[in-house]
């Protein structure tokens, strides 16, 4: 078995998830200059809603594919509503407050969502039911599952779709305009609040998809799962250059690869002293390295804040 290729595949799969979540961070940052620390929790809620829906639909003897599709749609709808609500209730009243206020609020929202999820879905780990057989494929000595193939493909489609929305639609153009100069955008007749709401909803929809992906890949759902995932996706966004969409995608995939290759080889490199459970160290090592060496990220502009 080829460890390198295997870790490459695992990294690509995990990186696709990071990329989708990182897009949510970067979109909100691009438009508001706010780091929405509650975004990881939106992923978790997406996973939880998908789990509940899937269990119910499978119990009602729905066809497996339909059940998965419907639960995905439900999770997306729920997360879009949640994203809209978070911005409307927690961030909009603080739009003109000093920057620290919405940041702390974001952490507060994150804790509230975690605890709500704990009250609704409990503290235990839930098994995520896969309604079909997860086939294995061998590729040059490495193994890739059906679920992993679907994750990478769906992530690619979602990212292409997002780029299409942002670069080819009227709303996307308005988003880019608001991100660059909100008052000039208002002078064009753009309702800034609507554009900001749309941005949160779009990011949350991606988060819902990502939530279903991680759950299906690991087979486990837990109320705390959004925390670490959110931090790592944030790291990915910073790595790519926060505020930059292509950067978020690149950063996500790179972080996934760094993490999984690092975890794969750390045992050998440290002579067995450190094991693969040190995987999380890599993400935060990357975060520190980027902040020290290139704070604007790989694709970020060196220009400071908007005037």
């Amino acid at each position: 078995m080829d460890i390198f290729l295997q870790q490459l595949i695992n990294g690509l799969v995990q990186g696709s998830v990071y990329a989708l979540v990182a897009l949510g961070y970067t979109m909100v940052y691009g438009i508001l200059g706010l780091i929405n620390f509650a975004h990881g929790e939106v992923v978790m809620v997406g996973a939880m809603v998908a789990l509940t829906a899937l269990q119910a639909l499978l119990a009602a003897a729905f066809a497996p594919v339909l059940a998965v599709l419907f639960s995905l749609m439900l999770a997306v709808a729920a997360c879009m509503a949640l994203g809209y609500g978070i911005e409307r209730i927690a961030y909009r009243p603080l739009r003109n407050a000093p920057r620290l206020a919405p940041l702390i609020t974001a952490i507060g929202v994150s804790i509230v969502l975690q605890n709500l999820a704990m009250m609704i879905w409990g503290r235990e780990y839930h098994a995520f039911p896969l309604p079909f057989n997860n086939g294995l494929h061998e590729m040059g000595g490495a193994i890739i599952t059906d679920v992993q193939i679907v994750i990478v493909l769906v992530a690619l489609v979602m990212m292409a779709g997002l780029m299409g929305v942002v670069h080819r639609t009227r709303m996307g153009r308005a988003m880019r305009a608001v991100a660059e100069n909100p008052s000039a955008a208002a002078l064009m007749g753009v309702d800034i609040n609507r554009v900001i709401s749309a941005t949160f909803m779009l990011g949350s929809a991606l988060a819902a998809v990502a939530g279903l992906m991680v759950s299906a890949n690991y087979g486990i759902v837990h109320y705390y799962m959004g925390f670490m995932l959110g931090l790592k996706a944030f790291t990915a966004a910073v790595l790519g250059g926060i505020g930059n969409l292509r950067g978020a995608m690149l950063g996500g995939v790179l972080l996934g690869l760094i993490e999984s290759l690092g975890a794969g080889y750390i045992g050998d490199l440290s002579g067995g002293f450190l094991g693969s459970h040190y995987q999380d160290v890599f993400a935060f090592f990357v975060l520190i390295a980027v902040l020290v060496l290139r704070p604007s990220g790989l694709l970020g502009e060196r220009v400071a804040e908007r005037a």
Binding site: R173, R176, A177, N181, S183, A185, A186, L187, G189, V190
Partner: protein
């Protein structure tokens, strides 16, 4: 002037914290008129335009536009009502292409003449046609001013407000911009022109107002203002 004004401003006051930026100004603009608002730095010219566009909260006073009050209308709705502001510093979207900037100008429209208007802008500013696929941030200052004006015109405004369109431009470019302002005015668009370059503005305008530390101190026909001793002394260095 017996015509009903397009825009009428009564006792407009704007306070920034404790500072009275506008101390109750009155002005009006008739349909099709080109009106200049001149004054030195910090007199409140830009504040006036921002208040009219809805970017600045007014502490007191009345704004009537086509007989309706603008008081509670947010900035983005004033655009569809026919008010367009080319802000100080132009406010172009540097990371959007020239064509995308112009499309942003037509954001509130959903008629099928947008493409035709786009072509009209390219005829008005042939330089922009050459650069339509270029990012607006890569253009020169004069070209950016063209983008800002063309973008404002894309909303088909009844009242176009220009904040210092000559600022930072080479003399050739200033002449070109003012020629365009006269053209736009000749097509029937009302224009409120804010300028530090009093001579240029008053030569183009029909009427003018002089703003000094938040109050209007002089008003009248542009030719008279241009000839008046006070304006000569204060703004034209005669």
């Amino acid at each position: 002037m017996t015509q009903i004004p397009l825009l009428e401003v009564e006792h407009l006051k704007v306070n920034y914290g404790g500072i009275h930026a506008l101390k109750g100004i009155d002005l009006h603009i008739a349909p099709g008129e080109l009106v200049a608002l001149i004054g030195s730095n910090g007199a409140g010219k830009s504040t006036t335009l921002k208040a009219l566009a809805g970017l600045q909260h007014c502490s007191a006073g009345k704004l009537h536009y086509e007989g309706h009050s603008l008081h509670h209308m947010p900035a983005h709705q004033r655009v569809s009502a026919g008010l367009a502001l080319v802000p100080e510093g132009r406010g172009i979207f540097a990371r959007l292409t020239v064509a995308e900037n112009l499309h942003m100008g037509a954001y509130t429209r959903n008629d099928d003449e947008i493409e035709a208007d786009l072509e009209r802008m390219y005829t008005l500013f042939p330089r922009l046609a050459e650069r339509c696929a270029q990012l607006a941030g890569t253009l020169s200052g004069g070209e950016q001013q063209m983008v800002a004006m063309a973008r404002a015109l894309m909303s088909r405004p009844k009242l176009l407000m220009l904040d210092e369109p000559s600022m930072g431009l080479a003399p050739m470019m200033v002449a070109k911009i003012f020629e365009t302002i006269r053209d736009i005015s000749a097509q029937g668009v009302s224009i409120l022109l804010v300028e530090q370059n009093a001579k240029l503005a008053l030569e183009a305008a029909q009427r003018g107002y002089v703003l000094e530390s938040g109050a209007i101190t002089l008003s009248g026909a542009a030719g008279e203002l241009l000839g008046s001793d006070a304006v000569q002394r204060a703004y034209l260095g005669a």
